[in-house]
Structure formats: C-alpha cells, structure tokens
Symmetry: C2
Subunit: 430 residues, 2 copies
C-alpha cells in the first residue's frame, strides 16, 4: 500500500481527541516509523455539532459509525466508544471486512475478547488493544511478544488510577475514604458516579484481559472475585503503616496447579515492594515470569494523550502490516544529532568541601559561587570546633562550565582544604 | 517455512546456557507462539571439551563459529560472544546471507550499530537486540514500537546492576565503596576487574544504544560523558539522605534544541522518584515521552535466564517472520483454565476487631483462630482503659474459607463488638 493509510475513529472523547492530536503533532515521525503517512479519514461522534477540543476538520465528522466501518478509504478502524454494544458489532463488522481494528475498550474485550480474536484470525485481520489496559503503559505487547518465552507465574497490578489516587490521599493526609473520594472528584480523577472504579469493576475488566493473555486462556470477567476500597478506614491504613505495609487496590492473577486465581481487592503490600511506591493516579503492573524473574511496568494509566500514545502505536503497527514490505521499523539512524559537550549541560550540583571553621568562610565560598553565577539552594555544615569541617552545598540549576570555574576559584581559597565530591542532582529545582 | 526453525548460538556462557535451557523448558509454549518448533542446531564454543552447565547435546558443539553462520540448517544466528571482533564480522556475514541475527552484545552495537542495521536493511534480514540492554526488561521493542508515536524527551536509567548493588550496600549499611565492592565481588555481582562496571563504561554502551533508538540518530559511545562511582563516600550518601536524596549511577539522554545530552554519572535523585526505590542488582529505565508522559520499566538487568528471556523472544519473532503466514501471535485462548473460587485461595490477612478490654479476650480470639487453623503472625492492641479497643491481627498464610469460619466464630464472641476490616496481605510470609 503506497497511499496514506486511512484511519477511522469511532468515538471522539478524551482518547479520540488524544489520538487526533498525536497524529497531527507527530505526523512526520509517525510516517517515518509506519512506512508512510497515516491520515485521519472519518470520525464518528454522537453529536456532530458539539464544539470539541480536538482540531478535527468538520468535514471528517459523521453521526453514523457504520459509515466509518464501511468507508473504503478507512483502512484501520479505531473503536473508542466503550461499552459492549454497538462496539462489539462495529468491531466485528470491520474485522469481517478484513480491516485491522484498534480498540481501547476494556469491557468489550473482557466480555467478548476470545470471540473477537477468533473472528479476527478467521478474516486475517488484526485486533489490537494496547490502550485497553493501563493507558500508555506498554503491557499487552510485552506480554504477547517480549515475554513470550516465559511461563508467566503471576501478575499483580495497580490498574485503576482513581482508587490509587484515593488510597494515596488517605495514606498521606489521613483523611477518610469519603473525603479522599470528594477530592478526587473535584480534580476530575473520579467520576460523579464512581462505583465502577471504587468497587473494582474497572480493574476486574483489565485483569481479565491481562490474565487471558498471560495464561493463554479465556478468563470471564464474572469469574473475577472483586472487592472495592470503600470500607478501608484511616485506622486500617495507620495500623498497616505500623506493620510496614501500604494498602493498594491490586488486581492479581496467578496460575496454580492448572487453575487460575484471579481477584481484585484492597491489599497490604510491604513498603519495600516496588508497587508500594506507585502513588496518585499512576498505574503499575508487576509480572513474574519463570525466566525473566520480576518485571514492573509503570506509568500513566489513563488520559487522552497517554492512552492515545498506545492507540497510535497500534495504528502504526496496523499500517506497517498493511504495507508489509519489511517491518517499517527504523532500519537505522534517521538523523544525525550532535552530542552536547558536558560543560554546556545544565544540572543542579551537590558539592562537598572540607573547610577551616572560621568566621567568614561561608561568605568567601558563597562569594566565589556568586561571581560565576552559581546560586545555592541549600547548605549543610557538619562538625563544630573541629578542623577541618564539612560544608555541603546543593546548587540551583547551572551550566556545568560555570560550576567548574567557581570550583577552580574555591579550590584556591586559603580556608578550603579540599573539594570533596561533586555529584549531579536530578529532580525539580526547588 | 514449515520445518522447525533452526537456531545457532555463537558463544555459550551464562546467557547462552540460559537460552538453551529456556528453549528446552518452554519448548511447547515457544512453538505455539512462534508458529512452530524452534530448535537448537549448532553451538560454537571456545572449548568443546569443557564441562558446561547447560544440557546441550555434545553433537551440537563446534569450535568454529563460522560453521554456525554458514550452516544451512541454522536459520537464526544468535551472537553471544561479546566484544567487537569477531562478533562484528560474524554478525555481518550472517546478515549478508539474509539470516536474522539476535545479539545481546552491547559493545558491538554501541560501536557499530548503525553500520550493522544498515547492512541488515540492505539484505532484508533483521538484527534484533532486546537482550543487549537491561537483561530481561523489555525496552528495545517498547522504544521501537510501543512508543513510536511519541517524541521521546528523555531517558534516565539505572542500567548497571553491579554499581547499583554497590551503591545500595553503601546506602543501607554505611560501608565505604571498597567494602561494598568486595561484598559484591564475593556474591558474584562484580567481576575481579570491576572497572567496566564501576567506571560507567558498561552503562555508556547501553545508553548509546537506547539514545540512538529513542532519538533516531547514531550516538557514538566515545561521545558519552562518563563518570564512575568510586569517589562516592559514605559522607556523601549521608548528606544526601539529609537532603532527601538517594545516589544512583544514572545513564541520561535528552534531546535539547537539536543536540543530545548523553551522560553516565552518579546522580542524586529525590527519594520520592520511582528510580530511588530501585535497589540491589535491579535495573530500571525511566522514559519521558510527549504523549505518554512518564514511564518506567523495571526488572533484572542481567543473568542467564532474564537475558535469555529477551534473546528467546527475539528468536521467536525472527521465527514468526521467517514463517510469515500471520504473526503467529496467539489469535485467542489456547487453553481453558478454570478459575479457582476465592474461598479456596490462600493469603495472609489483616483483621481488625473492636473488642472489650478485659482479661482473657486475646485468649478467646486466638483460640477461635487456632480452632480453624489460622495462625497469627502479629498483633497490635490500641487504646487502653477504653471500651471498646482496637485489636489488629496479621495472620500467616491460610485458606480463605478457614479464615471466614474463624471470623464467623469470633463474631459470636461476647467480648467482640464487631469485626472491622479484613484486608489481604501480599509479600513473603515471615
């Protein structure tokens, strides 16, 4: 296929708008990696007259989703309507026409995934769904391909951002469930009717999808045991803390002697577990495989751009397959970017000095820093009435060359015995 | 290709042995996902008579690596020799013959990656190298495919397990660099000559590979600014702690106004950063993309089985491509695993009770737990001379049905006002 690959969107809410804006903003890069241009051709929405954020040419909008599926100019169908019907029928029809389908719809996959995958195989079309679980975090392809040589032993995931935000709020600020939920609602992290998230149903759909892939079986969402977080109290969280635990809504799937253990419930995990540090709306999936050992995938589990990132990656793979000739993956460097000399890079720095404990020392050193444009964020002085003492500085952001010049001057000061260590500091400049 | 896909190994050290054992242990699963059997055909080693761990039929061993590349029965060449020559020549010859090559050799890729990728493209063969960076952690394919719709803004990685182990030891136990290094050597986590790890060269090769992929350019390893960890002192670590920082050897790559900033050096990161919790020999790579936001990939960055997991995944992809007809990816469930009822699952439990503060209460409750086979790991009692008080138990592992029966009995006790919360506990049973 030499002409641009045409994309049709079914639905244009948050994720659809994300997809449209990524296709627009990164069109050049996407064409380079997909073997040619990828173009938006048609977008089905409920109300074509509603004002919308995404810059979609009005001529592309239609109120009829079937028009998208049937349009011969639409090569790849992207289903973002959500729910079971008419999503299932639309996906099925696209697959029957041999069109690859990309979906971020966890519910239709959790309820009809096996049937839709079989239909796709029969018609030689592909059904891709990286965006259906954990937003932009790559987890479907890693499970299908990167870990394909492993027998997966278990999956444990924080795959609902709303409940993680609520639990993080309860843990950090000691507020009760209702208060933390209202805060999440005020920030748009929880819906007006939060039950799908709070009761664990959303996570149940997602773990059904992940467990089906990892264990090569069809997990019915009705078989997933499910408990929500509404009964967790501040006292539980406090007792857990004393015991060294953090509470998370975990989705768990394990194979045990030919049976699956699949559940969603609040769980205490040791504070040292990598999942314990996953806060706010972040998601993370912890996978244990017989060869690879422990893996964790961490990132933003929702939102138009993160989920759009996963959807567009699937669209690009569909485009590469439609074009066949090679994988379309970058065969080598496309550009020739020069590397910046380290002296020109900008960092914050930790600087430790051994100095004489004498009035005016700090002023002398601070003066040298100041003359070279190095401003100081914090100072620690250790030892008193000793000689020498340690003086530790953390700078604000500064070009490395300036810091080096300041240090050369400081090294010459009488009061400075020696410069200890200089270590770069990452993280926001306070 | 209907016959089994033949694999030839160049080198059979730790990773080669891992590859051989994964192919053997998970052969059925691998055949199912690779569109047919994948078989080891020939293994080139330095000394064919040396006793080796991996169960490799002696008939497959050869002392001549060229015999592997040239063997018409070898469809996929796996290069695990390491270093530049003769690895580069062997890979080149295999690609010229149109054979896909899988390598875990960071040095040859960092020094000659662009040239080898171009050669692969000219001959329509594939060069795959998931195992070259961060062992079993999927990062190459996620960068090439899953994040292909993103403009990558930065990569920050802990991609050398030895130095992370040393820094973790220094941080946790306050020992100096030399002591922590000797401990790592005693455990086999550091080599007798540790300079390649400790001076950051190993990480420099890997970040050159990652930056080349993420920024679609050819980063020369000579251009990567590199500082090791040998100058870090316990005092630096202690001052960092007071400032809220953890020290890590980070490999960093960023695009800034048409130039690359690529470096490896010890870095202080805020304790709250997800990379700060990456301890011991674990690796993690933090990626920031314009659409996806922040992502992190975490796991074991070295070892025969983890790296073998990545190498075999690449072999399977090569096999699927050689067979073409479809992707060979599971088109749907292959098995029909039943889901275990939650009552039959085994967990540890946190149980909070509101009880009357009276002598004998603990004995009554503990007795009820005991009668149902629930053994107690820890108890917290809160409040004194109040009524009621909180009594919190954490159990050892127990089948859920047994716990429920115990709780039913406890709920009937006079001294128990009510059962508060029951929350499952993950993590090792102490």
């Amino acid at each position: 296929m030499k002409r641009p690959v045409g994309v049709g969107l079914l639905g244009c809410g948050t994720v659809g708008a994300g997809v449209a804006s990524i296709l627009q903003a990164n069109g050049g890069r996407i064409a380079g990696r997909a073997g040619g241009p990828v173009e938006l051709r048609k977008v089905a929405v409920r109300d074509v007259n509603k004002p919308r954020e995404a810059a979609i040419p009005p001529g592309l909008l239609t109120g009829d989703p079937w028009a998208v599926v049937e349009d011969p100019e639409v090569d790849v169908v992207v289903e973002l309507i959500g729910g079971v019907e008419p999503a299932r029928e639309l996906i099925s029809e696209a697959l029957r026409r041999g069109k690859p389908v990309v979906t971020a719809n966890k519910e239709v996959l959790a309820r009809h995934g096996a049937e839709l995958l079989a239909l796709a195989a029969r018609h030689g079309a592909h059904l891709m769904f990286e965006g259906s679980v954990a937003g932009g975090i790559p987890i479907i392809k890693p499970l299908q391909e990167c870990l394909a040589a492993n027998r997966v032993q278990s999956i444990m995931g924080i795959i609902n951002g709303t409940t993680n935000y609520v639990l993080t709020g309860m843990s950090r600020r000691g507020v009760d469930f209702e208060t933390a939920l209202r805060e999440a609602q005020a920030l748009g992290y929880a819906e007006a009717d939060p039950s799908s998230d709070v009761e664990g149903y959303d996570a149940a759909f997602k773990i059904a999808i992940l467990a089906s892939l990892a264990f090569e079986t069809a997990v019915r969402v009705e078989d997933v045991y499910c408990e929500g977080i509404s009964r967790i109290t501040p006292a539980d969280i406090e007792y857990g803390r004393e015991l060294g635990y953090t509470v998370k809504l975990l989705a768990i799937a394990r194979e045990e002697e030919g049976r699956l253990d699949v559940r969603v419930h609040p769980t205490f995990i040791p504070d040292s577990h990598p999942l314990a540090a996953v806060s706010d709306v972040f998601n993370a999936i912890f996978v244990q495989g017989d060869a690879v050992g422990e893996l964790m995938f961490y990132g933003r589990g929702a939102g138009g751009l993160p989920t759009g990132s996963a959807v567009v990656a699937d669209i690009m793979e569909a485009a590469r397959r439609l074009r066949r000739g090679g994988t379309g993956l970058a065969p080598g460097p496309r550009r020739d970017l020069p590397v910046k000399p380290v002296e020109e890079t900008v960092s914050r720095f930790y600087v430790s000095l051994r100095v004489v404990d004498r009035p005016g020392v700090l002023a002398a050193i601070a003066g040298a820093f100041g003359r070279h444009g190095v401003s100081i964020n914090s100072v620690i002085q250790k030892g008193r009435f000793e000689d020498p003492i340690d003086l530790v500085f953390v700078t604000h952001e500064v070009q490395e060359a300036h810091l080096r010049r300041a240090l050369a001057e400081i090294d010459q000061l009488d009061v400075v015995r020696n410069i200890g260590n200089v270590i770069r500091v990452e993280g926001p400049d306070a």
